[in-house]
Amino acid sequence: MLRRTLLGAAATALVMTTGAFAQDDKTKVGFVYVGPVGDGGWTYEHEQGRLAVVEEYGDQVETVFQESVPEGADAERVMTQMALSGADLIFTTSFGYMDPTMNVAEKFPDVKFEHATGYKTAENVANYSARFYEGRAVQGFIAGNMTETNKIGYIASFPIPEVIRGINAAYLAAKKVNPEVEFNIVWAFTWFDPAKEADAAKALIEQGADVILQHTDSTAPQAAAAEASTDGTQIITFGQASDMSEYAPLPRVSSIIDNWAPYYIERVGAVMDGTWESQSVWHGIAEGMVGIGEISDAVPEDVKAGALEIRDAIAAGEMHPFTGPINRQDGSVWLEEGETADDGTLLGMDFYVEGLTGEIPN
C-alpha cells in the first residue's frame, strides 16, 4: 500500500512547500474515509475505488486520502486542509460527513465535492449512494431457500432508512419463496466492531438461526458462523460491503459488494474535462455500483440460477424488490397490487413490512 519510496516522499515534501502556487495540470482528488483502509468492508471498497482511479488516469491524476476521520469538526478540518492543498475534487465517504462537506464546500466554491449516502446537494456538492436493497433481494431469495430451521438472523447496525430498507427487502424476498420464514433482528449500534458482531452472530445462532445476514462491516460474523457450523448444522452467511471470499464456499455463499470504482472514474473524468455538474444519484446493480459476489457451489443449482435471474431482472429494470401488494407491519396498506415503491419513501423508510416482528428501536 505504501508505494512511495523515500525519494518520492522527499520530492513530495519539496512540491509541498511550493505546491500552493505551482501550476500543475494534474487533477488532485482527495478521499476522506471513516475507517481504516484495511477494514475489509466499507472503507476498503472506497479505497479500491481510489486505486481504480489511479489505475485509470495514471499520471494525470494525484490522489490523497485520509483514513479514520471522525465525523464532525475533525472531518471539516481534514476537508479544508485537503482543499487548501489544492484538491480539485473531494469524495467524502460517510453519511456523517454531510454537514461538514456542505460547510467546507461553501468556503471553496471552486472545489467539487461528492458526498456518499447523504441527501444534501449544492452547486459544487453532489451526492451518491447505492441501492444496496437490490442486493438484499437476491440475498433474501437464497436465504429463504436454504434455511432449514426457517429462522434467519439479521445483524443490523443503526435504525436508519438504509438499514431498514435492507431488512425489508431481504425479508420480502425470503418470504416469497418460503412463507414459514422468520427474521430475528439484533441491533448492534455499530458499523464496525468485530467483538460485538461476533456476539450478535452467536446469540442468533443459539436461538436457532441457520442463516446470518449482516449490515455491519467486519468478517467476525463469518468467523462465528464457521465456528458454529461443525456438528451437522451448517450456518450460512453473506459478505457485506466486500466480497469476504476468504469465507467461501461456506459459510459465505454470496455477498453484496459495493463497487465505487466506475462512479469514481466517471466523476474524476468529468472534472478533468470540465463537465462536472452537481447531481444526486442512486445507482444499483444496473450501473454496477452494487455487485453480487460469486454464488458458491454450496448453493443448489436451481437456487443459484433463480438468484442470478433476480439479479438480471433487477438490472434490466424488469423487477423491483418492492412491488405490491405490500402491507406495513401494522397491517395498513403500503403498496397496492403491482405498485412499486417510489424513491422518496424508500429513502426515508422508517417502518417494517408486514410479517416482521419486533420494533425498530427508538
Binding site: 505504501l2 512511495r4 519510496t5 523515500l6 516522499a9 522527499a10 513530495t12 515534501a13 509541498m16 512547500t17 505546491g19 500552493a20 482527495g30 481504516p36 490523497v64 486520502f65 485520509q66 483514513e67 479514520s68 476521520v69 471522525p70 465525523e71 464532525g72 469538526a73 475533525d74 471539516e76 478540518r77 481534514v78 479544508t80 486542509q81 485537503m82 487548501l84 492543498s85 453519511f95 456523517g96 454537514d99 447523504g118 441527501y119 443503526f158 435504525p159 436508519i160 432508512p161 449500534f189 429513502l347 426515508g348 423508510m349 422508517d350 428501536p361 427508538n362
Partner: protein, 362 residues
C-alpha cells in the same frame, strides 16, 4: 554500568526539563518509525510541527484550528488534573463530556425554534450540570460503598456512548432529517450557536472557558486552602487526614469539578465545531485529556501548553497523513510515544543517574 539513585526530593530542574526531553525523544523515535515506513522523517516531522504554524498554504487556517482542538482538551484536562493531584482518578471524562453535550443539547432542542439568545447560556449551565451529575455516580459509589472510581467512571463511558447513539437515532433526531440519524444543527440555529467570537481566530466560548478554568485552577491550587488540601491528599494522605482533610468531601469535589468541566467541553463542542448530536459525536477528547494532564505535569499552565502541543500533533498529523501518505495508525503511535517518553523520563525527576561502578559504601 548505569545505576539509579533516589533523590531526596524531586529535582526542580528535571520537573521542567523532562517534558521537553520527552518531546525531543518522541521526535527522534517517531522519525525512525516514519523512516521505517519509507517516508522522509524530516519532511514528516516538519509537516507535523512546522507546517500548521508557518506554512503559507495552511497556517492561516491551521493556527485558529489549534485553539478549536486544544480548547476542549485543556478544559477537560484542567479538571482531571485537580483530581489526579488528590489521588482521585476520573478516567471517565469522555462519558461526562458526552452527557454534558446530550443534556445541554436536549434542553436547547426542547425550546426549538425559540428565538432568544438566553437559550445558549441555559444550555451551557445544563451541560455543566449533566457532566457533574454523571461524575457524581462514581463519586457517590466510592464514598458510600468504596467502589473503585477508575472502573466505575471508565465503564460509564460505554453507557454514555450507547445513550448517545440511542439519542441520535431517537429522541434528539432531527425531525426534518429524512429519518437519518443526528440532531438538528445547533451551530446553525442562532439561539443555541457557539460561534467564533472573533473571525478567523478559532476563539469560541469553549476556548474562553478553557483559559478561565486554567486561571481558576492555578489560583485554587496556589492560593487557596482547598488547593492545599488537594495537593496534600495526593502527596501525603496520612498527613492530610491529620490536617483535617475530609477524603469524602475531596472525592466529591474533584469528581464534581472534573465532570462539570468535561460537560462544559461537551456542550461547547456540540453547539460549535461539531454542530450536532450524532452517533459518533465523541472523538476521544476525554481520554486524550488524560495524556494532556500528565504532559502538562498536572499544572494548569503546563496543561494549557500541553493541550496546544497535542492539538498541533493532531492537526499536523492529519496534514502529514494525507500529504505524505502516512497511515493514521502511525500518527497515533507517534502521539502514544509522546506519553510513553514522558512517563519514562520521569525517572530523571525522582532519581539521579550514575554512570560507572557503584561504590560499595554508597
Amino acid at each position: 554500568m548505569i545505576s539509579l539513585e533516589k533523590r531526596p526530593t524531586p529535582s526542580r530542574v528535571w520537573t521542567y526539563a523532562t517534558p521537553f526531553l520527552a518531546v525531543a525523544l518522541t521526535v527522534i523515535a517517531g522519525g525512525l518509525m516514519f523512516a521505517a515506513l519509507g517516508k522522509d522523517p524530516v519532511a514528516a516531522i516538519r509537516t507535523i510541527f512546522y507546517d500548521p504554524l508557518f506554512d503559507p498554504q495552511f497556517a492561516a487556517y491551521s493556527r485558529p484550528q489549534l485553539l478549536v482542538k486544544a480548547g476542549p482538551l485543556i478544559l477537560i484536562a484542567t479538571g482531571l488534573a485537580l483530581g489526579f493531584r488528590a489521588g482521585v482518578w476520573n478516567i471517565g471524562a469522555e462519558g461526562q463530556y458526552i452527557i454534558g453535550a446530550l443534556t445541554g443539547a436536549a434542553v436547547g432542542l426542547a425550546l426549538y425554534p425559540a428565538d432568544t439568545r438566553m437559550i445558549f447560556p441555559l444550555m451551557v449551565i445544563v451541560g455543566a450540570l449533566g457532566g457533574w451529575a454523571w461524575a457524581m455516580i462514581p463519586a457517590i459509589l466510592k464514598t458510600r460503598f468504596n467502589t473503585n472510581e477508575i472502573l466505575v467512571s471508565l465503564l460509564l463511558v460505554y453507557v454514555a456512548e450507547n445513550l448517545l447513539a440511542s439519542m441520535a437515532v431517537g429522541r434528539l433526531r432531527n425531525p426534518e432529517g429524512g429519518g437519518f440519524p443526528g440532531s438538528r444543527n445547533l451551530s446553525q440555529w442562532d439561539s443555541a450557536a457557539n460561534p467564533e467570537l472573533i473571525a478567523n481566530t478559532g476563539m469560541h466560548w469553549g476556548v474562553v472557558a478553557a483559559f478561565i478554568a486554567v486561571i481558576f485552577a492555578y489560583i485554587l491550587l496556589n492560593r487557596h486552602l482547598t488547593g492545599f488540601h488537594i495537593r496534600l491528599a495526593g502527596q501525603a494522605p496520612r498527613a492530610a487526614r491529620f490536617a483535617g482533610v475530609e477524603p469524602t468531601r475531596l472525592v466529591v469535589l474533584c469528581l464534581g469539578i472534573s465532570g462539570a468541566l468535561a460537560g462544559l467541553a461537551g456542550i461547547f463542542e456540540v453547539t460549535g465545531p461539531a454542530g450536532q448530536i450524532s452517533i459518533d459525536f465523541n472523538v476521544g477528547y476525554g481520554f486524550t485529556a488524560i495524556i494532556v494532564a500528565f504532559l502538562g505535569r498536572l499544572h494548569p499552565i503546563g496543561i494549557a501548553l500541553a493541550g496546544l502541543l497535542m492539538a498541533l500533533t493532531y492537526i499536523g498529523g492529519e496534514l502529514a497523513s494525507f500529504m505524505l501518505g502516512i497511515p493514521a495508525a502511525a500518527i497515533q503511535a507517534f502521539q502514544g510515544m509522546l506519553l510513553f517518553f514522558l512517563l519514562a523520563v520521569d525517572v530523571l525527576t525522582n532519581y539521579r543517574v550514575r554512570l560507572g561502578r557503584r561504590e560499595a559504601s554508597a
